[in-house]
Amino acid sequence: MDEELITYWFDAYADDIYRFLIYYMSTPDVEDLVQEVFIKAIDRYDSFQGNGSPKTWLITIARNLAIDEARRKKRQDWRRLIKTYEFKTQDSPEKTQLANDMKLQLHQAIFKLKQNYRDVIILRGIKELSVAETGEILKWSDKKVSLTFHRALKALKKKIEEGECEIQ
């Protein structure tokens, strides 16, 4: 893989990967993982299908790295995660706090979902990837993506309603 191509990919997709990893790891401290994603991409370039999307391929690598990283250590940093959100300046401090609480609750509920639900919620729900792109990353059929996403939403709703999530 030549330097020009990986540089082009980095410029085009580094921020996307960065945000995906924030959702997945529940912490903004993922820059080292972003770099690792692109290094892995160089090493595994032979396995990249030329007609595939570089973005979905890079997200697949990022997901695998994130899973490995999550197994090694718990890196969630909810408070720093909330600080990554920008809020409208005209909102009152109370309203801002309420919005923060809601987002944090949602993040924690997502984090507590089982792996495949979490995958599809992040990819389809937050990143708004298409069914086809999500299927390409997770190696699922379109039908499975849609069905699992529907079930994941129900499971997420239940987690929130049960109020299991609290700010830690």
């Binding site: 330097e3 949602l106 937050i126 709703k157």
Partner: protein, 258 residues
């Protein structure tokens, strides 16, 4: 807090962040990634060179081995040539086998010289030709009276133009005189009018221990000399008409052996 599915999806979209990697950090990461790509490319080129070199070396060695196989066995020739080569090889092997068991006799003709021999009571100057039986290195001279010769299997036979006399020289390998005498008895089995008993040859004629036996009619017989581990056998036969000159010529031959 209660959500319906649409509201939940809307809330999820709200989780989307617009943050990006710090530009300074991004440049640093990009440099590290590019450096990794450069190293990877260098390693790949190095590996390619190693693979190419080892493949070339393997092919070169294979070619050498193949060349030697073809050279030694002629194993990849077309069928006809292969057959012919096999035939040649078989001949070669037969010759080798023959050589290992009994060396192939050949005669080298040397220069001629004048010599005086007594024929019918008169000193007569004759021309003799020097010969060597190889590979035994046995030297002898043959008078021009018997100037026709041909190598037959393991012997050389000289004959006159009139074909009224011949002398045959043969080398029996790795044997002794007693064995040769025994073999000669099986050859001279005719009911001869005259038959001598095997007797020793004269040491004045040449240095070698020998046996001779004479028969008639027609006059014929043999001389056998132990030369090292081999025995030189000289057989002769001639008609009565050629008889007067054959005795001296045979004697000259015996004397010339060395």
């Amino acid at each position: 807090m209660k959500y319906n599915e649409d509201e939940l999806q809307k809330e999820l979209k709200e989780l989307k962040i617009s943050g990006s990697i710090n530009q300074h950090k991004k440049e640093s990461m990009k440099w590290t990634i590019k450096e990794h790509a450069r190293k990877k490319r260098r390693r790949r080129k190095y590996k390619q060179v190693i693979v190419w070199a080892s493949t070339a070396a393997a092919l070169f060695l294979a070619c050498i081995v193949l060349f030697h196989m073809i050279d030694n066995n002629q194993s990849v020739l077309p069928a006809d040539d292969h057959g012919e080569t096999e035939h040649e090889n078989s001949i070669h092997h037969k010759q080798s086998a023959d050589t290992s068991e009994e060396m192939t006799l050949s005669v080298h003709e040397g220069e001629t010289e004048k010599k005086t021999i007594p024929i019918e009571g008169m000193e007569e100057e004759v021309t003799v030709t020097n010969y060597v039986i190889e590979p035994y290195g046995i030297h002898y001279q043959m008078e021009e009276f018997l100037n026709n010769y041909q190598v037959e299997d393991d012997a050389v036979k000289y004959s006159t133009e009139a074909e009224n006399a011949w002398i045959r020289l043969e080398v029996a390998e790795n044997t002794i005189l007693d064995k040769v005498i025994s073999d000669m008895e099986t050859q001279y089995t005719a009911d001869f009018f005259y038959k001598e008993e095997p007797t020793g040859t004269s040491q004045e004629e040449n240095q070698y221990e020998g046996i001779t036996q004479h028969f008639s009619d027609p006059p014929q017989g043999y001389y056998a000399y132990q030369i090292g581990e081999n025995v030189l056998i000289i057989q002769y036969e001639y008609t009565i008409e050629a008889g007067d000159g054959m005795g001296p010529r045979l004697q000259a031959l015996r004397k010339s052996i060395k």
